[in-house]
Assembly symmetry: C2
Homo-oligomer: 240 residues x 2
Amino acid sequence: MTVDFQRVEALVFDMFGTVVDWRQSVAAEVAARLADYVPALDAHDFADRWRAEYQPSMERVRRGDRPFVRLDVLHRENLITVLEQFGTDPDSIPEHVLNQVNLAWHRLDPWPDAVAGLTRLKDRFIIAPLSNANVRLALDVAKRAGLPWDAVLGAEVAGAYKPDPAAYLNTVEILGLEPPQVAMVAAHNGDLEAAGELGLRTVFVRRPTEHGPDQTSDLDPSGTWDVVAEDFEDLADQLD
Amino acid sequence: MTVDFQRVEALVFDMFGTVVDWRQSVAAEVAARLADYVPALDAHDFADRWRAEYQPSMERVRRGDRPFVRLDVLHRENLITVLEQFGTDPDSIPEHVLNQVNLAWHRLDPWPDAVAGLTRLKDRFIIAPLSNANVRLALDVAKRAGLPWDAVLGAEVAGAYKPDPAAYLNTVEILGLEPPQVAMVAAHNGDLEAAGELGLRTVFVRRPTEHGPDQTSDLDPSGTWDVVAEDFEDLADQLD
């Protein structure tokens, strides 16, 4: 290992895209549950558009236009928006179907290296999600997938959505640590920029198909991050 | 199983005394670390007196006399109080020794049945501490002991100390559940009284030596709790 991680006690992880493959998982659930209601449904396009509403909906909270609400609430509102984009009247779909579709985000599959890599990293570090997911969402994903978190942290516990500095700093404080004792692990340069500016260590993990085979963003590190890893097994190798 | 737990999705656990044997663990650390500084030290008496300051110190937060501070802070203040009760000038003890003694609460041993029982209960239920411990304390105990929590909840996440109703109700809300879908598991009748009044299900677990061989309190259930169990293995048997 070339980077000095001697002081680092905790690794905190972005979840959507970094730990789990949200796009394939959501598309599969959408295809299974909405095909009867949405004509000529392209489930991957639906998943992409649903995800596209994610940042704008959190931005209204970050700007203070509305009080903090958990991500489940934003996902549910955004589902209505996307159905309307697809020309479907949301009222034509039974409430219990919409609620089940919304829970697709609680049933995301991990990348193939995630459980094995996290299990190795847990031997040496505290590991926890620092995700914009609410606690129950992250908990359900972890319980279903077997992600061995030491705690479930993130936006709901911190009371702020990344990249609001409070999301990172409140999490560091809850861990009883200083920023250089915590490393942010993410497949997104923007997340690492925000964390790095606050003094956290930074780990970029390549997830070149998060957005599908034609992904153009976050293919490479854009900053001088402390570690660049191909996946979580590679990260465990490098920090060994 | 005689009690209907069909609707229950989550079991939330009191920690000190219910999951871990705080008295033996703290006494062992106190004996090892403070014998050089406290003449004629009775480590069990020291542990008992330290614990006796626990409720009064939280009560100042519950009454609103001071803002919420995590339990690590209260433990550290109470340590000074108890040293003075033992006639020891806290300033005569190096800061790093006091800090290590305070971390005794992060190194509590579980009762012998705890890990096996929780592991079985985790198959069917979400399991999480609903403790007055702060997140890092509960996390350190769990990591060292191998407690397989699905999440670390409790006073710090809820922003209130039990038996303040907010401690229970905020935890239920974070879990995305209604009170009857959550069962409070505790060795203390007072904890179950508070939880039961709010509509949570109640599980009393007997821990007759939490306070040592001469324990007089909480030897038996004082209310009509939904389940009474001898330990966590017995609880897993009853809920099977």
